[in-house]
Symmetry: C2
């Protein structure tokens, strides 16, 4: 048996171009502990975009055809050259996760033949993918590949937020950009697990999305009484941990200051050091690339830092990761369900207009690559 797949690749060239192509790649026979998946669905996550599009200037996107295959290029600004230096000249296969049917299996994996499985492990923007058995998770009977395509990144992120909360001794959460796909999933998880969650959004429309799915605490950052509302919400919930998808600007510091104000209001401090209770913001996204600012009104027991799913998974260990993945599999059509605003083919993923659309990361928008559409 010999299979050729069509694989989406991203290349940074020495002359400062980002180039996306579809490449023919031979998939060799599976080893004893390997399977070959027909990839039926793979989501485009924000975490894919950093490598897929890099720091390319999307106003310079330009597409062409060669032997019937699309190629799209964009300029990498000179000031971003250092960021991509390590990947120049390396054609990178894209796509963190996806799902599909097992169409071939090594000697130790024949029980998986015909099963629909979710896969994590990269290079999923492709028609066929050979992976180790350890990297697949069979989905419950009746669950489709489209339903199971996003069983890793977003579900393990929201589970990781609650897990971090418990590991670090906090009892409630704050989340920003809270009407996002991750934010909606986090609300479903927190409702299911009885965890209080303060949702920060920018608009009434985003607040309405969350209200409709049962969110209890919603604070609008553009409202004139934002500070008071946030203090009241963190005071009610006792939240001392926040996950921030925005990163830049004053919001992370404002959250810490609100937590500090709520704590000091409950236990006034005679010292100039404020509350001794630790307040933490983890930045897990960078929708805003400007500097993060933290004012001096946060006391002395505070922290702010980066949070990356892979670092968190290394922290909790393989056993806890497997347990989390099994929970996701069991609740993939409820707590961890994903919805897609559009299904696109591999070729369409290289269309400049579509690239600009999925790069926008607009609230509620999420694209799913369906290779069978090609």
């Amino acid at each position: 048996m010999s299979i050729t797949t069509l694989e989406l690749r991203s290349l940074a060239t020495p002359d400062g171009q980002l180039r996306l192509t579809l490449e023919d790649v031979l998939v060799t026979d599976p080893g004893p502990d390997e399977v070959i998946i027909r990839v039926d669905a793979a989501p485009i996550n924000p975490s894919d975009l950093g490598t897929l599009l890099g720091p390319a200037d999307l106003t310079t996107l330009s597409s062409s055809q060669s032997s019937g295959r699309p190629t799209v290029t964009a300029k990498i600004p000179p000031q971003a050259a250092a960021i991509v230096a390590a990947r120049v000249g390396k054609s990178l296969a894209m796509g963190n996760e996806g799902a599909g049917e097992v169409i071939a299996a090594g000697d130790n994996a024949t029980h998986l033949l015909g099963k629909v499985v979710s896969v994590v492990g990269g290079a999923m923007f492709t028609r066929y993918r050979k992976v180790r058995v350890a990297d697949v998770l069979p989905l419950p009977k009746g669950v489709t590949a489209k339903q199971g395509a996003s069983a890793f990144v977003n579900p393990l992120t929201v589970l990781g937020m609650v897990s971090t909360m418990r590991l670090e001794g906090h009892k409630a959460l704050v989340h920003t950009a809270a009407a996002s796909n991750v934010g909606q999933m986090l609300n479903r998880l927190c409702i299911a697990d009885g965890v209080e969650l303060v949702n920060i959004v920018r608009s009434d429309e985003q607040a309405a999305i969350l209200k409709a799915i049962g969110a209890k605490y919603i604070v609008i950052s553009t409202a004139p009484n934002f500070r008071e509302q946030l203090i009241a919400a963190v005071s009610d919930t006792g939240a001392t941990l926040a996950f921030d998808a925005i990163g830049g600007g004053p919001l992370a510091g404002q959250i810490l200051a609100a937590m500090e104000a709520a704590l000091v209001a409950k236990n006034p401090s005679i010292t100039p050091y404020g509350s001794p209770i630790h307040k933490q913001v983890y930045i897990y996204g960078r929708l805003d690339l400007s500097p993060t600012t933290v004012a001096a009104n946060v006391g002395m027991a505070w922290g702010i830092g980066g949070w990356l799913l892979t670092y968190h998974l290394a922290r909790i260990g393989a056993k806890a990761v497997l347990e989390a993945r099994e929970r996701v599999s069991n609740e993939i059509t409820t707590t961890f369900a994903s919805h897609y605003s559009r299904e696109i083919s591999l070729a369409e993923a290289l269309d400049p207009d579509i690239i600009r659309a999925y790069h926008r990361k607009a609230t509620g928008e999420k694209y799913l690559i369906v290779p069978s559409k090609d």
Copy 2:
């Protein structure tokens, strides 16, 4: 036996004044596990000033005499009212630490009579102080009270920095405002213990102070090649932990960015997430009250937060604290020696000109209260 002491007090009044006074206070007989110290020397640390002077506007200092005792007042700006709310109307005794001779002892503490001891526990800006035996540390024979007056705050701070480095898996340190009393002591400790230390200072004069005591890595933040010099120093030392006394402004973020640049230069990253090695800055002082800013060029494995000696001591536990204090006692005239630019009486500590002088926290300046001068 009945002793009356003269105690320096700080009071925030309901009408927005800060008032420093000297009060007569009766010192009752010591209990079985208590001793009375004649306080011979007590330093004015930066950590005393936050409570002593609060957020008072020192341009409004005004002094008067009543029954031969000085009183000094200053206005607390209305916007700082919330900061002092919890202490309004409470007359607070001042002075974190000091040293003196044991002049009276309870039944279980007679072995301490006549000994020179260092004391931590507050209210040390006074002539006589009753404390629990657990709060005193006998100084080695021949060590004077002036030599032993600063055996707690600065020594345990620098030991805490190295202890934090080890607890959190770092192998070298960065320190800012590094020519300070704490900074010079940290250099002596790091040289004694073989820990590499990158010193950040603002001027050639400050660099010269550190060079004279054997500092190896000194970087001047006002130099045009500051960034390159800092990257080179953190690269050479492998420092991934910094203690920052300045707090506000871009410096903490610049340190994280330099650490990230040094790590990525050694191990280029194909992902947009940068180095997976954690980089940390702890802010332990706030010489600059403006917001702390951290740009997006620090990767995802980073943290910044407050560090307070009392929180650190709670973290390491009583046994480790005692071991640290015993080391300080043994090396109080070498590694942990303090030098004072001026000795003042309790009454002089209430002189407006002297207040402005010790509030300046100028490099190399440190004031010692010597109650016997009154």
